[in-house]
C-alpha cells in the first residue's frame, strides 16, 4: 500500500527514459513552479491481465497497470528506496481525467492514450489485449500522469495525489465530490447550440485553431496508415526475389554462390519492414496525443462560451426585470407587453398588489445583480486562466511536435541507412557472380 511521501526538495528528475517525450517533459517540469513531479517520481511500470466480474456480473478480462511512486528527496540523497505501488485500470484513469476536466474547466487537460486502437494499418493489431497495444498504452498512461503531475495547476489536486497513493476507496472519494452532477449538467449545456452575442475574440480564434489541429492530425494519421500499408507491400514483395534467386542459383555454376547470398539479403530486406513500422507507431502515438489535446482545447473554449452565454442570459434577465420595475413604478409602458395591454384594457391593479409585486421584483433584481456580478467574475476568471493555460499549452505543443518531427526524421534516416546496407550487401554478392 502506498504511504504518504511528501517532501520538499529541489531534486533532479532521473526517471527512466521510456518515451522521448519524457525527456522534454522533465525539462519542462524543472522550469515550472513547485509541483508534484518535483516531489515524487512517478511511473507506470507494468501491465497485467486480470479476470473478474464486472458491474453487470459478467466475466471479463481486463488489464491493470502498476503505478509506482518514490519520494524525490530520498532519491536525491542517494538512497534507493523501493517504490510504493498500486494497480489501476484504464477506467480509473478515465475517471481521474473526467474529474479534472470538470474541476478545472479552463485548463487544457492532458489526454489519455486512445481507448480503442484507431488508425491501424492492416498488419497492426486492433485488439486491446494485444501486447504491443498494451505496451504502448502503458507508455501513454505514464505520459498522462507525468504531464498532469507537472502541470502548475493540476498537479496540486488532491484527488490526483490520492490516485497515486490510495489504491482502495479512491473511486468512492472521487464520486463523493459530486463532480458528476456538475459534469452532467455541463455536458447537456455544451451539447446544446447557443449563440453568444459578444464572443471572446481570442478564445473563438483558439476554438477555430483547435478544429484545424484536430482535422490536420487526423488527416495525417489516416494518410500515414495508408502509406504504412503500401510500404509494407513493397518490402514484402522483394522477399520473392530471395526465393527465385535461390532457385536460379541451383542451375548456375559460377553465378550460383553470388545469387544465393544475394537472395538471403533480399529476404532480410523484406523482413526489415516490420521493425521499421513498429517504431513508427511511436510517432503515430505522439500525433494521437495532440489529436486528443485539440479536443481538450476546444472544450475549454466551448466552456467559456457557455459561461459567456449564461452571463448574457443573466444580464438579459436582469435588464428585463429592471424594465418591469420601471413599468410598475411609473405606469408607463415602454415596450409592448401583454401586461401593458391588459392594464390598458382592464385597468391597473390595486395598489397593494402592485406594492407586493414591486418588492418581489426588487428582491429578484438584487439577486440578479449578484448573479451577474458572479457570472461576470466567473467568465473573466475563466477567460484569464484559460488564456494563461492555452499559452502554456501552445508552447508545449510546439516543443513536443518539433521533437516528434525530429524523431520521425531520425526514423526515416535509420530506414534509409538500413536500406543502403542491405542493397550494398546484395550488390557485393552480385559483383561476385
Amino acid at each position: 500500500m502506498a504511504e504518504d511521501v511528501k517532501g520538499e526538495s529541489v531534486a533532479s528528475n532521473d526517471e527512466s527514459d521510456r518515451a522521448a517525450s519524457d525527456e522534454s517533459l522533465s525539462n519542462t517540469m524543472l522550469t515550472e513552479g513547485s509541483c508534484l513531479l518535483r516531489r515524487m517520481e512517478i511511473c507506470v511500470a507494468e501491465a497485467e491481465k486480470r479476470s473478474g466480474k464486472n458491474a453487470v456480473s459478467m466475466q471479463e478480462t481486463y488489464t491493470v497497470y502498476l503505478v509506482e511512486t518514490r519520494p524525490m528527496d530520498a532519491i536525491a540523497e542517494g538512497r534507493n528506496p523501493p517504490p510504493d505501488s498500486l494497480w489501476r485500470r484504464y477506467s480509473e484513469f478515465e475517471l481521474l481525467r473526467n474529474y479534472l476536466i470538470v474541476t478545472y474547466p479552463y485548463i487544457v487537460v492532458p489526454p489519455l492514450p486512445e481507448k480503442r486502437a484507431e488508425f491501424v494499418w492492416h498488419k497492426l493489431s486492433a485488439d486491446n489485449m494485444d501486447p504491443d497495444f498494451v505496451e504502448r498504452r502503458r507508455i501513454g498512461l505514464e505520459n498522462f500522469l507525468l504531464r498532469v503531475a507537472s502541470h502548475p495547476v493540476l498537479s496540486n489536486n488532491e484527488m490526483l495525489y490520492h490516485f497515486l497513493t490510495k489504491e482502495h476507496g479512491w473511486k468512492e472519494m472521487v464520486y463523493e465530490t459530486g463532480f458528476q452532477t456538475k459534469a452532467d449538467s455541463r455536458l447537456r449545456a455544451l451539447s446544446a447550440t447557443f449563440r453568444v452575442r459578444s464572443p471572446h475574440k481570442r478564445l473563438v480564434e483558439m476554438k477555430h485553431y483547435s478544429d484545424g489541429l484536430q482535422s490536420h492530425t487526423s488527416q495525417l494519421l489516416r494518410a500515414r496508415t495508408r502509406v504504412a500499408d503500401r510500404l509494407y507491400a513493397v518490402y514484402k514483395v522483394h522477399g520473392n526475389y530471395g526465393r527465385v534467386f535461390s532457385e536460379w542459383s541451383a542451375i548456375e555454376k559460377e553465378m550460383g554462390d553470388g545469387l544465393q547470398s544475394a537472395g538471403h539479403h533480399m529476404d532480410a530486406y523484406a523482413a526489415s519492414v516490420d521493425d521499421i513500422l513498429e517504431e513508427e507507431e511511436h510517432y503515430a502515438d505522439q500525433l494521437k496525443e495532440y489529436l486528443s489535446y485539440a479536443e481538450a482545447l476546444r472544450a475549454v473554449c466551448r466552456k467559456h462560451e457557455l459561461s459567456q452565454f449564461e452571463l448574457e442570459m443573466a444580464s438579459q434577465d436582469l435588464i428585463s426585470k429592471k424594465q418591469q420595475r420601471e413599468e410598475l413604478a411609473t405606469g408607463i409602458v415602454r415596450t409592448f407587453s401583454l401586461k401593458g395591454m391588459t392594464n390598458k384594457l382592464f385597468g391597473q391593479e390595486a395598489p397593494e398588489q402592485r406594492e407586493a409585486k414591486l418588492n418581489l421584483l426588487e428582491e429578484l433584481i438584487a439577486e440578479g445583480e449578484e448573479t451577474v456580478k458572479e457570472k461576470t467574475a466567473e467568465c473573466d476568471e475563466h477567460a484569464e486562466k484559460a488564456w494563461a493555460d492555452i499559452v502554456r499549452f501552445k508552447d508545449q505543443k510546439d516543443k513536443d511536435l518539433k521533437e516528434a518531427f525530429i524523431n520521425y526524421a531520425l526514423m526515416q534516416i535509420s530506414m534509409c541507412k538500413k536500406g543502403i546496407q542491405v542493397w550494398s550487401n546484395a550488390k557485393e554478392c552480385f559483383l561476385k557472380m
Partner: protein
C-alpha cells in the same frame, strides 16, 4: 560425334572449322561466309577466306584426318577474361544512337544513326555512318539467321507494339529500343563468325539498304542446314546438348518469375508513391495554420516530396533499363532453343542416313555414300559452332546479369541516399529553431 571446337576467332593463321575448306569440296564454293565483300549481286566464287590469308586446304579427303587436324588446331582454352571469346583485339566497333523522327505522307518512323569504326580490310573505309530504322535491323537479323543457322544470333527488341497502349514515339520507348538495338549490333559485331557476314557489312556501310536485292549469300552449310530433311527421329542427343536445353528451359522460367516479381514491385511502388504524395500534402496544409511549427512542417513536407521524386526515378529506371533486358534474354533463349532443335534435326538426318547406308553396305557392299559423310560434317560443324557460341553466350550472360543486378542494387542505393540526405538536412533546421526558442524563454 561431336568435336571440340576451337574457342576463339581464328588467330595466328588458324581457322574455325567452318572456315577450313572441306577436303571434299576443294573445287566448290567455300563453306565460310567470310568472303571478300563487294556489294554485288554475284557471288564470288573464289575460295578466298577472311583476312586474305592463304587457304589451308587439307589434302587427305577423309573426315578422320579433318578431325585430327582439328585436334591439332585446337587452341588452348581461350582467355577466361576475354569476354568476347576472341583471342584478338577487337577491330570492329559499332554504336547505335541519335534517334530521329521522320514524317512522310505514308508513315512516321524513327531512324537511328549506326556508326562503325573498323580496321578490317573487308571494309573499304575505316569509318561509316548510316541511318537505319527498326525494319532494317529486323532484315539483318533474318539474314543472319538464314545464312548462319548453326550460330546463335542475338535477339532484337520486340517488333510489335500495340498502338494506343504504348507510345512508339515517346522518349522512354525510343530510348529503350535504341539501347536494345545497340546491344544487338554490338553482340553481332563481337561474334567471330557473324561479324564477318556480308549482310552485316551491307547493313553497316550501304547508303541505301536495298533489302530486296538477292544478297542471299547462303553458304553451303547454311543452304544445307536449311534444307534439312525432316522426318528423322533423333536417336541419341549428346548429353551436353540435352543439358543446354534443360538449362535454357529452367533459366527462361526463372527469368519469367523475376519479370513478374519486378512488375509487381513496380505496381506496389506506384501505389506507395501515390499515398506518399498525399501524405506530404497534409503536412503542407497543416503548416499554413501554424506559426512556430510552420517551417518544421514545411520541412517535413519537403523531405517527403524529395523522397517521392527519388522513388519515381527508381521506378522509371527499373521499367526502362531492367525489365527490357530481362525480356530480351527471354527472347534470346527462345531463339537459342530453336537453334538447338535445328541441331537435333541435322543430327537426326545424319543418323538416319548412316543407318540406311550401313544396312546397304552390309547387304551388297555399297560403300558409304558421300552424302552421309557430308551429313556427318554438317553435324560436326553445327555442334562445334553451337558449343563455341554457347560458351560465349554463357560468358556474356554472366556479364550482362552481373551488370543488370548490380545496376538494380545501385539504383536502390541511390534512392535511399537521396532520401537520407533530405532528412538529414532537415534535422539541423528543426533543432536550430528549438535553441532559438530556448533562448527566448530564458530572456
Amino acid at each position: 560425334m561431336s568435336v571440340g571446337a576451337p574457342r576463339g576467332l581464328a588467330s595466328s593463321g588458324q581457322k574455325l572449322i567452318t572456315e577450313i575448306l572441306h577436303p571434299l569440296s576443294a573445287a566448290e564454293e567455300p563453306l565460310s561466309p567470310g568472303q571478300d565483300v563487294t556489294i554485288s549481286a554475284e557471288k564470288d566464287k573464289e575460295p578466298g577466306l577472311t583476312n586474305g590469308t592463304p587457304v589451308e586446304i587439307s589434302s587427305p579427303a577423309s573426315a578422320s584426318v579433318l578431325l585430327s587436324r582439328l585436334q591439332l588446331d585446337c587452341e588452348p582454352e581461350a582467355d577466361a577474361h576475354d569476354a568476347f571469346g576472341s583471342g584478338e583485339p577487337r577491330d570492329l566497333f559499332v554504336t547505335v544512337n541519335d534517334p530521329k523522327k521522320h514524317v512522310s505522307t505514308m508513315e512516321t518512323y524513327i531512324t537511328y544513326r549506326v556508326s562503325t569504326k573498323t580496321t578490317r580490310i573487308e571494309f573499304d573505309l575505316p569509318e561509316y555512318s548510316v541511318r537505319r530504322r527498326y525494319q532494317d535491323f529486323d532484315w539483318l537479323r533474318i539474314k543472319l539467321e538464314d545464312s548462319q543457322p548453326t550460330h546463335l544470333v542475338p535477339p532484337l527488341p520486340e517488333k510489335f507494339v500495340m498502338k494506343g497502349v504504348v507510345d512508339r514515339f515517346s522518349e522512354e520507348f525510343v530510348d529503350t529500343r535504341m539501347k536494345a538495338l545497340d546491344k544487338f549490333l554490338k553482340r553481332v559485331a563481337d561474334h567471330p563468325v557473324l561479324s564477318f557476314n556480308p549482310h552485316l557489312n551491307a547493313f553497316l556501310t550501304a547508303k541505301d539498304l536495298n533489302k530486296r536485292q538477292g544478297l542471299a549469300l547462303l553458304t553451303k552449310v547454311g543452304e544445307s542446314v536449311k534444307n534439312v530433311a525432316g522426318g528423322y527421329k533423333l536417336r541419341a542427343r549428346p548429353a551436353e546438348f540435352s543439358a543446354m536445353g534443360e538449362y535454357l528451359d529452367t533459366f527462361s522460367q526463372k527469368l519469367g518469375t523475376i519479370d513478374r516479381i519486378s512488375q509487381r514491385i513496380l505496381r506496389e511502388q506506384s501505389e506507395y508513391l501515390t499515398e506518399l504524395r498525399e501524405y506530404g500534402a497534409v503536412y503542407s496544409t497543416w503548416a499554413a495554420s501554424e506559426e512556430q511549427l510552420q517551417r518544421p512542417l514545411e520541412g517535413v513536407a519537403g523531405c517527403v516530396t524529395t523522397s517521392c521524386g527519388a522513388l519515381e526515378d527508381l521506378s522509371d529506371n527499373m521499367s526502362q533499363d531492367f525489365l527490357p533486358v530481362l525480356r530480351e534474354y527471354v527472347l534470346y533463349i527462345e531463339s537459342m532453343k530453336s537453334v538447338l532443335r535445328k541441331r537435333d534435326q541435322v543430327q537426326a538426318e545424319y543418323e538416319g542416313r548412316l543407318e540406311a547406308a550401313v544396312l546397304r553396305k552390309q547387304e551388297d557392299r555399297t560403300p558409304i555414300p558421300v552424302e552421309v559423310e557430308k551429313c556427318q560434317d554438317k553435324v560436326e560443324c553445327f555442334n562445334a559452332d553451337l558449343k563455341a557460341d554457347w560458351e560465349r553466350w554463357q560468358r556474356n550472360k554472366r556479364q550482362d546479369f552481373k551488370q543488370l543486378l548490380t545496376g538494380m542494387a545501385d539504383k536502390n542505393i541511390n534512392y535511399y541516399e537521396k532520401s537520407q540526405a533530405a532528412w538529414e538536412s532537415l534535422i539541423p533546421l528543426l533543432q536550430e529553431k528549438q535553441t532559438e526558442d530556448k533562448t527566448s524563454e530564458t530572456n
